[in-house]
Point group: C2
Chain length 420, copies 2
């Protein structure tokens, strides 16, 4: 059984984590801020590209800034097997989200090199532009363009909150490439990623075999009431949008825990902004967000309908108006059953426990699933799997387990003959 070098892998995560590092005031921990297409993202990209070249890979940058590094196979005419993820981050990130998939892929390449292992098919390690969507508002951007969901011109035209256009920012950091953005379907796509949740750790499971990505529905609400002085306005004359938002927050909680939409229903009100937001003023308006997740498309549609009906009920109860717009919506994605089975087999051979898990977050793999057999390996995280936070942490051992299985499955798939 060929072994990767877990120290080299973990050191590469630490090295990349130095780029865009900052000290978190509250915790004193070092965090990472490599928001897409900023100078820090550019520096991170150059660092990873250097590593790719040092491993002897040929590097291509496409017109949306996706980077592909290729190790030739004995049959260069065959579709390659691709490993990948992203290296951009949210503003308050750790060093594992995305990076484990990219640096894990490069560790697989390094191990192939160390052992002079040839593969039938070419092997490609990719990192995709702006997976997080934190800066330009569209997540899985690069992989969505590469797989045809998002037109290149629409992506180019996106602007950040300062009005800077995505295309200009790509050029500014030197990653506006000239390779065609549409990706020829690889033979398979593998992504090793941190779970970003507490399930694996709470079960004591060593690796997650991701069966798919759950459906996501986001609403942004504007609840308009009547601004009033908190001291002078009788309760009966109020139209308080903060009370309306509170009703919706509790309805969402009840909806999820009721079990009526399956065990996988999750609901969150993560943002609430009352205006003017003063202790002694009934707000004129509250904007807030609703995040619904469900691994079943039909259950999700039922939940969405019931949430919309409740908005109307709240309008009546609180004398407010509730306007909403859909800011994101994706159906469930199912990963390739055959590759899931191979991941399980590889883990078993190494004595690692696994369980099937639905991804709660979006990933580049769900975009790649549109054009090839895609699959994901989840690595558990410490601290209840906290992510998008400087406390994000998967141990050296956890990372080693995930990338070892990534290696095994990669080698198997990269030696698959084409179907006759």
């Amino acid at each position: 059984m060929t072994e990767i070098d877990p120290d080299r892998l973990y050191a590469s995560l630490a090295d990349l984590g130095q780029i865009g590092a900052y000290r978190d005031e509250r915790s004193g921990l070092m965090g990472v801020n490599r928001l897409a297409l900023t100078a820090a993202d550019g520096a991170g990209r150059r660092h990873v590209v250097e590593r790719m070249k040092a491993l002897g890979l040929s590097v291509t940058v496409d017109r949306i800034g996706n980077v592909y590094a290729r190790r030739e196979g004995t049959r260069p005419d065959l579709a390659p097997v691709m490993m990948g993820s992203h290296i951009d981050s949210v503003e308050t990130a750790g060093r594992f989200d995305g990076c484990l998939g990219v640096l894990g892929g490069l560790e697989v390449i390094a191990t192939l090199n160390d052992h002079r292992i040839e593969t039938l098919r070419p092997v490609v390690v990719a990192f995709f532009t702006d997976e997080e969507g934190s800066r330009f508002g569209t997540d899985m951007l690069g992989s969505a363009v590469a797989t045809g969901r998002l037109p290149l011109d629409a992506a180019y035209a996106l602007r950040d909150k300062h009005g800077k256009a995505l295309r200009d920012e790509l050029a500014a950091i030197g990653f506006l490439g000239d390779a065609p953005e549409r990706l020829a379907p690889p033979h398979a796509y593998l992504e090793c990623h941190i779970e970003q949740g507490p399930v694996l750790a709470s079960h004591g499971t060593q690796l997650g075999v991701v069966s798919g990505v759950q459906a996501i529905s986001w609403h942004e609400l504007s609840i308009v009431g009547k601004s009033a002085h908190a001291g002078t306005t009788p309760m009966s004359l109020r139209a308080d949008p903060a009370v309306a938002a509170a009703r919706i927050a509790l309805f969402l909680r009840e909806l999820a825990v009721s079990g009526r939409y399956g065990e996988g229903m999750r609901t969150t009100m993560g943002s609430i902004v009352p205006r003017p937001g003063l202790v002694n003023v009934v707000p004129a308006e509250v904007t807030c967000t609703v995040d619904l997740r469900n691994p079943d498309d039909a259950q999700m549609r039922r939940a969405e309908a019931d949430v919309l009906a409740f908005y109307a009920e709240v309008e009546r109860l609180e004398q407010v108006t509730v306007s909403w717009r859909q800011t994101a919506r994706t159906e469930t994605v199912t990963f390739a059953a055959a590759v899931q089975a191979r991941i399980e087999a590889a883990a078993r051979a190494r004595g690692l426990s696994t369980e099937r898990i639905v991804s709660g977050a979006g990933h580049d793999a769900q975009e790649l699933a549109r054009i090839t057999q895609a699959a994901m390996i989840f690595v558990p995280g410490e601290h209840d799997g906290i992510s998008h936070n400087p406390r994000e942490l998967s141990t050296r051992e956890q990372c080693k387990n995930g990338v070892s299985v990534l290696f095994d499955v990669l080698v198997t798939l990269a030696n698959q003959e084409p179907a006759p």
Copy 2:
């Protein structure tokens, strides 16, 4: 019956409203921003002081920046009757809050001058420093220092959010006076103010006779839960401080409408700030505010106890910790019954309808009530009495009614012989 000049009064409100004026982006209306001790407040103060001098008044500035303008009586040795209020504003104000009491007082003086009316007692028009408390965090600041509730040094040491000390800011705008800050008790204090609420307008009442100021209790809450990914964290593993805040918001509503704390109970959660406040993140922490009002001190104490008990209940229900601190607390204030009766009599003589009303907001008059017989006249407002907002509006007629009664009561009180 001597008549004030309502056009001169209304024009003086418009003139002062030009100072610190800004255009409100949302409504297109002109608002006023004369936050205490800013350059705009300084300009407003100089404008009013010029007007005072033009009316022949002698102007004193005390060590906390309170301004007193005196018209001599035939018996200068007797305690004066004082009219007053404030001319500082919140950041998003209209032109009536406070200004009506000060400019109304000057209109009374102008009318006395026009008709060459002498009074037995001196008459003083005052404006007090930083009634709003929006900048330095302590409301009724100038009147609290003048009447002994707040030591001068404590007031001097207050800092705004940029770290600027109040004493330095007083000096910077030229209003660090040298008159002693402790006020010799006047014979009486009268304040004409907008209601800042919908009650008088909804009853069709022309003037409010303020019986007192209700008790106020403010809490600032910090609710700490566990930050988590909205897509990956099962509901059963969450500790969501936004859900906890929603429970408290609805509890407050129920508490006020239950009637169990009297009809005057009012509750508001005006500020809610989740961190990090992102659509797909269960917040780590929510800070929010609680505003409780009640015209009865015993009912207020019962309500406070029940609110605190509910915080503990929410800790248990949502697995969060709720920390709170008291950011303001005042007991009820009762205004002088004899002066209330005089206001009613004066209004009746002019054919104006009145009702007794408890002030929901804090006012300088409640500080003056500590050292003299104090009373307030409330003028209704349009648009449900909206205040602290560019839409704040009392009509020329409404202002005229209030200041006419102010004139009548002032003349009566200013001719009262000292008790034998």
